[in-house]
């Protein structure tokens, strides 16, 4: 026989129930009408944010010359190609721009931009 919960003493009732996974909204005290207004408000905020994001569109391409002459960052739209620039460093030969610091994955001159990216200069001593 399982022990019946003591309804007069809520503390005791809680102790007899070992687990306590309440649903997320069990303690929510809000009317549907108010919630409707909140949802409409949130949707409006989302629309404003999306419109702002679209009007300020553009991916940033940053260049880390790693000791070479600095190259200014560029802003491009999806599918565009970067304006190819070369950095210079004394005593080193510029091999190209790579997406990783280890220079394992190089960025091609004809490669299309699909997101913001930071490119690292690769050098041969």
């Amino acid at each position: 026989m399982s022990e019946r919960p003591d309804l007069k003493d809520p503390q005791k009732t809680q102790q007899t129930t070992p687990l306590n996974l309440h649903n997320l909204y069990s303690h929510v005290k809000i009317s549907v009408k108010t919630l409707d207004k909140i949802i409409v408000g949130l949707i409006l905020v989302l629309v404003i944010v999306v419109v702002y994001a679209i009007s300020n569109q553009g991916f940033t391409v940053e260049f880390d010359p790693r000791g070479g002459t600095p190259v200014e960052s560029q802003k491009h739209l999806y599918g565009e190609k970067i304006d190819w620039e070369v950095s210079e460093r004394e005593g080193s030969r510029f091999l190209g721009w790579a997406v990783d610091e280890d220079c394992k994955v190089f960025w091609g001159e004809d490669q299309e931009i699909t997101g913001s990216v930071r490119l690292y200069a690769c050098w041969e001593e």
Partner: protein, 339 residues
């Protein structure tokens, strides 16, 4: 007059309950007009591939939400699985310099599954045994797992550098061509994701464990009275979720081509939003595998669309946060109107 009022209320209910789908549809239409390439074969296959990559983690987390819980350690478990996979499936492992050859692929898969299951067990055991809220438990395991990832990445001669150079058979197994549509190839992990979806559908709908999971999510006390082993069910749901995260990580190392300490970061936020959009309710005991699939797909469609519009990643974070908030508010509305 009364009928008109009733109709108005019905329309308002319909609009608000489906607000998320309406917003997504409007964004898709706008993107398709502005960038017709968005509806091209390459873009559609890209969306499907990304959906397949995110599906296992969402399927795992959905079980935790059905229990009226959550799991915010998911992304870090993906990361740990990813770095372990990348470090063991290479011929030049800097973390394990003594390894002269890559381990067999099935062995590595079993290792990462065991890791995912173990962390899932810790999550589930803490929730079930100590009655701790899943949010707190998984927050702590998230941090612990991240610490383990950072320590692991410092191992051997690696010094925290990203891991790459995995063996070709492994990359081929995950990202190899399943079939081609024109010149665009569909990767193999799309098929694996489909298989996992079918398996999870079977577990949720056709097994005693699946039915127990919904019973515990709906009403724990009632489930206990009916003879369901609540603790065991909770532990198993979290373990199953851990295994799904591990599989996501195993795919990701090959899919991305490298693994870093940041791999998997914030994956849980996408997975949770996808589940809520797909109708897996935080109320507990409600949700369908088809809903999870639709949720992941819709979220991927909207983010790929915004990417086509060159929306920066910084703005995407704000949009993601708002989507979660709206999806939760709609979920709450459904709960309140039912109540």
């Amino acid at each position: 007059m009364n009928e008109k009022k009733f109709d108005k209320k019905k329309i308002l209910d319909l609009l608000l309950n489906n607000a998320m789908y309406i917003i997504i549809a409007l964004v898709v239409i706008y993107v398709a007009i502005k960038r017709p390439k968005f509806l091209g074969i390459a873009s559609i296959i890209n969306i499907l591939s990304l959906t397949a990559a995110k599906l296992p983690i969402a399927l795992g987390i959905a079980g935790c939400i059905v229990l009226a819980g959550t799991d915010i350690s998911a992304g870090r478990i993906v990361g740990l699985s990813s770095v372990v996979t990348a470090s063991l499936l290479t011929t030049t492992s800097k973390i394990w310099p003594q390894l002269t050859d890559a381990l067999p692929i099935p062995v590595v898969l079993l290792i990462v599954i065991a890791i995912g299951a173990l962390i899932g067990f810790v999550n589930g055991f803490s929730v079930a045994e100590f009655s701790l809220h899943p949010y707190i438990v998984t927050l702590s395991t998230q941090l612990i797992t991240y610490g383990i990832i950072l320590l692991y990445m410092q191992g051997g001669t690696n010094n925290g550098m990203s891991l790459s150079g995995m063996i070709e058979p492994y990359k081929e197994l995950i990202t190899g061509t399943l079939f081609r549509i024109g010149t665009v190839s569909v990767p193999r992990y799309v098929l694996y994701a489909l298989i996992f979806t079918v398996i999870m559908w079977f577990i949720w709908n056709k097994t005693v464990f699946g039915k127990n999971m919904f019973a515990v999510g709906s009403n724990q006390t009632a489930a206990e009275v009916s003879g369901v082993n609540v603790k065991k069910t909770i532990i198993m749901v979290f373990m199953m979720a851990g295994i799904m995260y591990a599989i996501t990580g195993f795919f990701d190392a090959a899919r991305i081509g490298s693994a870093t300490a940041a791999t998997g970061q914030n994956y849980e936020s996408d997975a949770i939003s996808a589940c809520v959009i797909g109708g897996v309710s935080f109320v507990g005991g409600t949700g369908k595998i088809s809903g999870v699939l639709v949720g992941v797909l819709l979220l991927q469609v909207i983010f790929t669309g915004l990417n086509f519009l060159s929306v920066s990643a910084n703005m995407l974070y704000i949009i993601k946060g708002l989507i979660i908030l709206i999806a939760c508010a709609i979920d709450m509305r459904k709960y309140l109107t039912k109540k």
